[in-house]
Every structure is written in C-alpha cells, then in structure tokens.
C-alpha cells in the first residue's frame, strides 16, 4: 500500500451523506434549475446558491467558530460592561407579540416576542414532511419516500407559473383555478424524471409542487394538489427562540439545529442560534475568531460565556439537559440584548 492509498484509508474520513441531506441538495438544485430558466430567457436565481447557508453550516464545525458574515457595522467601542447576571425574560411568547422594550441604547433593535415558525400547508396522506430553507428562498416541505418518489411543496408567485411556457408545458385546472405542469422530456437514471406543477391554490396564492417517481405524472401531481390543505405544520427545531428583534424574520435553517433570523430591511444583517447535543464540548475562548474579550456571565441561572469578537458577539451556555446553545449576533446588538435573546432560547423537547 503506497502513501496515497494510506492517505485515502487513514486520512480524514466522513460519514455517508444522509438521505435528507441528499434530498435537500437535490431540491435546491431542482429549484435552481427552473425548467423555464433556459439561458437567455430567464436569469438563474443566484439567490438560491445558499451562500449564507454555507456560513450556517460552518457554525457547526466542532471546535471551530466560523461566524457568518456578521452583517453589520461593528460598534466602535461598546460601552456596556457585560453583566455578571442576566435574568431570563418572563415566558417568551410564541406568537407575534408585544415588544419587551429592550432597545437599550440601540435605536434599530428592539426585542419582541417571536412568532412560532410554521409552514402553512399540509399534503394529506403523505405523512410528515421535513423542511429546508435557504436564505431569501421559500421554505420547502420535503416529503421523502422509500422508493425516492419524493415530493416538494413550496409557496411561489404567479410569475413563476407564467414563466413556465413553451414546449412541454401543459395548462391545467385545479378546482377551476389555473395551473401549469412542466412536462419533462429528459431522462432519469432511476425512475421517472421530476415534474413540476405551479397553480393558484387560492386567490392570489400560488404553490409549486414537484413530484418524482410515482408522483412524477400529471395525474399524480393534480391529485396531490387536491390534497393540499391550509393546515399549518409547525416547523420543529431543537430549540425555540422566544425573542427576536422587531420585524426580523426566520430566514433559513438547517438540520433543525441552526436557525438564522434576518432583518428584511437590511438582509445582510442577521443573527444565528445554534444548538448542539450535550456530548459536544463548549467552544474555548482560544477557538473564537478575532476574540477581543471573554466574560463569564449567567443565563437562565446557569454559567455562560460571552465572547466579544472583532466582528460579532457570541454567547454559549448549556441548557438544563446539558445540551448547548450558542447565539451569534452582529456587534450592533448590545450585550444586554444578546444575553436576553440567549435567555429566551428554550429546548423544544
């Protein structure tokens, strides 16, 4: 065995890619390769490149802190001395709520009760969905099937349906409403190629359904469209976030363990919440990129680390079950806001 073979055998290894990760990547590819996006006719939706998603994933690298493009202008010199004790805000609500009036010294940021994230539709009879979302893109409900007859459902716009034109497009009616099916002429190695239906689900509400395998036929797609119900599915994550800056939205998530909220007015400004199981170690101060100061604080009555780095704040603490929560925000947040936000994070189960 030569050195290259030894490197291949003993070099850094990786677990096999999960079915969910493959399905998610495939869904993103299919969403990106809109059948109508023939060069010259429609531009490629570059926003789907998941640039911020990469940063999200980077945040889970064990023992490595990679902060996602912290967005905003670092404050020149935070004057707030990190408190040694922080009291958790009273029972953060899950609905759209009243502001808690945090806003200490930062006009642009006011923490309010977060809305429980949900996907507004359910497809009857398909079982439970998993969900994926890239920054700026829609939440996609992914219904995985053993035989790879996967189904994707997401909200879209009438423009999306209008863009599906030309050869291979079939106009259909779903309960008297307009829809279009893209009839693929392509080949597939494994079963039937995917087929997409865009239709008006309700007045002004357009949905996009992609079926593969058994669901990759016009009849199956139309049948599925008839089973779409306005029944919200709660997006389940390992943790819930009780407080978010007023007006900010859940913009992306990954593996039910990383959430990214974003300011829609300044989409480059975001904060991340990461959950890690109890078996994982806490980050050490030496592992924080651009660390300026590390302070011991208390969150939810438990010890926590507050890291002030060149480009971001990070708080990490263990929850009651010893699992870990990390909150990373731009430096435009005050220390109090970062700590309040962290204190609002609860374990989901």
């Amino acid at each position: 065995m030569n050195d290259l073979e030894l490197l291949d055998r003993y070099g850094p290894d990786a677990a096999d890619v999960s079915d969910a990760a493959l399905a998610s990547a495939r869904a993103r590819l299919l969403a990106g390769m809109d059948p109508a996006a023939v060069p010259g006719r429609r531009s490629f939706p570059a926003r789907r490149l998941a640039i911020a998603g990469l940063a999200l994933a980077g945040a889970v690298t064990v023992a490595v802190v990679v902060i996602p493009r912290p967005a905003a202008r670092p404050d020149a010199a935070p004057t707030t001395t990190p408190p040694t004790t922080t009291t958790a805000p009273a029972s953060p609500g899950t609905g759209t709520g009243t502001g808690t009036g945090s806003g200490t010294g930062t006009d642009a940021i006011r923490l309010v009760a977060a809305t429980a994230p949900a996907f507004p539709y359910t497809i009857s009879g398909l079982g439970d969905a998993v969900f994926t979302a890239d920054p700026g893109g829609p939440v996609i409900a992914v219904y995985l099937a053993e035989d790879r007859s996967d189904v994707y459902l997401n909200s879209t716009t009438e423009d999306d349906g209008g863009a599906l034109s030309g050869a291979g497009v079939i106009d259909v009616e779903i309960d008297g409403r307009p829809g279009r099916i893209v009839a693929f002429n392509g080949t597939a190695d494994d079963g039937r190629p995917p087929l997409t239906l865009v239709w008006e689900h309700r007045d002004g509400v357009w949905l996009r359904l992609t079926g593969q395998g058994r669901y990759g036929t016009p009849g199956a797609l139309i049948d599925l469209a008839g089973k779409v119900r306005d029944r919200p599915q709660r997006l389940h994550f390992e943790v819930t976030v009780g407080l978010v800056p007023d007006g900010w939205e859940l913009a992306a998530f990954k593996d039910e363990a990383i959430l990214m909220y974003r300011d829609p007015v300044h989409p480059e400004t975001d904060f991340h919440v990461q959950w890690a199981p109890r078996s994982k170690p806490l980050f050490r101060a030496a592992e924080i990129d651009g660390l300026e100061k590390a302070t011991k604080v208390t969150v939810q009555g438990r010890p926590a680390d507050l890291f002030r780095a060149r480009d971001f704040w990070m708080v990490q603490t263990r929850l009651a079950d010893r699992s870990i929560v990390r909150v990373m925000t731009p430096r435009t947040f005050t220390t109090e806001q970062v700590l309040q936000l962290t204190a609002s994070v609860r374990r989901s189960r």
């Binding site: 065995m1 030569n2 050195d3 290259l4 030894l6 490197l7 291949d8 003993y10 070099g11 850094p12 290894d13 990786a14 677990a15 096999d16 890619v17 990760a21 493959l22 998610s24 990547a25 495939r26 993103r28 590819l29 299919l30 990106g32 390769m33 809109d34 059948p35 996006a37 023939v38 060069p39 490629f44 789907r48 490149l49 998941a50 640039i51 998603g53 990469l54 999200l56 994933a57 980077g58 889970v60 690298t61 064990v62 023992a63 490595v64 990679v66 893209v182 693929f184 002429n185 392509g186 080949t187 597939a188 190695d189 494994d190 190629p193 995917p194 990954k254 593996d255």
Partner: protein, 186 residues
C-alpha cells in the same frame, strides 16, 4: 434510456431538466470528497457545487474533461472560499483523534490506537499544506483524478501539478514514515 454524462450536459443547455440525472450519478462521490475536506458544511457545498455546475453547463467542453473530474474541480473551487475553515476542520479532527480514549478489553486495541494516531498526524499534516498543494494531493488521493485531469481542473500546467503533488507527498510521507515505517517508505 441511459445517456452519457457529456450528452446530458449538452442537452441540458436546451432542456435544463436533463441536468438532474447528473446529480443522481455523482452527488454521493462529490459529497464524500467535500465532507472529507471540510466536514458538516459539505451538505450545503454539495448543492452549491451542482448549482454552479448547472450555471456553467454551457461552457462545459466535452472533449477537454470528463464530467466527473469537472465536478470535482468545481467542488474544489467552492472549497477555496473556505480554506481557513478546512484547515480548522483538520486541526479539530487531529485534536479529536488524539483525545480519543484508548480502547480496552480488545485484543486489537494497539492497532486502533495506532490508527487514531495516524489519523491525527495526517489531519495535522493536511492542515499545514499550502492550499494549492493540498488541492492537487487530494484530487489525486480522494478523487483519483489523473495528473492531466488535475491540471485541467485547476487550470495549471502539468509540471506544476507534479511539483505540487511531490511537495505535498513529502509531507504526508514523512508522517507515514514515522507512524508506519514499513508502509510510508514504500
């Protein structure tokens, strides 16, 4: 009907959906390559790699490079934006391997300890390599690309590929020579 990769790419220029089977054929291999180099972010980089490939499909030259090495090349370029993260990944793996508790009640415990030590040393060595040297070495060792394919993939002369791989192999051979004298010196 099973069409060749390059035919699918050519046809996907007119019919974008023809690109999907390429994902089904190559996604697992590309993900493994990415995951061995950067860990968990591979899940996201996989989608990015194929989206970039899709966007560039019109520029694909069927006679210049097979589709598989072309995809590995795109994946490698995607990794370039995460060089520091990749190096941290290796250092984290090295630390984790060294801190792994020694097995007991196992007659093969010594072998497993040796393997863990070797993994730690190799990961640390990869972290020390220059990024260009590491690209060439891992495209050779992990992706099994030829020197000529690596040259085309990275856009560098064949001679440069040889020198980069030679430099990188000196480092990894040194690690192997210490850890496994009879193997590393072959």
């Amino acid at each position: 009907m099973h069409l060749a990769d390059d035919v699918l790419i050519q046809e996907s220029v007119r019919e974008p959906e023809q690109f999907a089977p390429l994902f089904d054929r190559h996604a697992v291999a590309i993900h493994r390559y990415l995951a061995r180099r950067i860990g968990a972010p591979a899940d996201d980089l996989l989608a990015e790699t194929f989206l970039i490939a899709f966007r560039r499909r019109a520029a694909y030259q069927p006679l210049g490079l097979e589709v598989r090495p072309w995809l590995f090349g795109i994946a490698t370029n995607v990794l370039h934006r995460h060089v520091r993260q990749e190096e941290r990944h290796y250092r984290a793996l090295a630390r984790a391997a060294r801190e792994q508790p020694a097995p007991h009640d196992d007659e093969r415990a010594d072998e497993r300890v040796d393997a863990a030590a070797l993994r730690a040393d190799l990961a640390a060595a990869l972290a020390r390599l220059k990024p260009g040297d590491r690209d060439a070495l891992l495209l050779l060792a992990y992706a099994q690309l030829s020197y000529a394919e690596i040259a085309t993939t990275l856009g560098i002369p064949l001679g440069t590929v040889r020198s980069r791989i030679n430099r990188a192999r000196k480092v990894t051979r040194a690690v192997l020579a210490v850890a496994m004298p009879s193997e590393g010196e072959k």
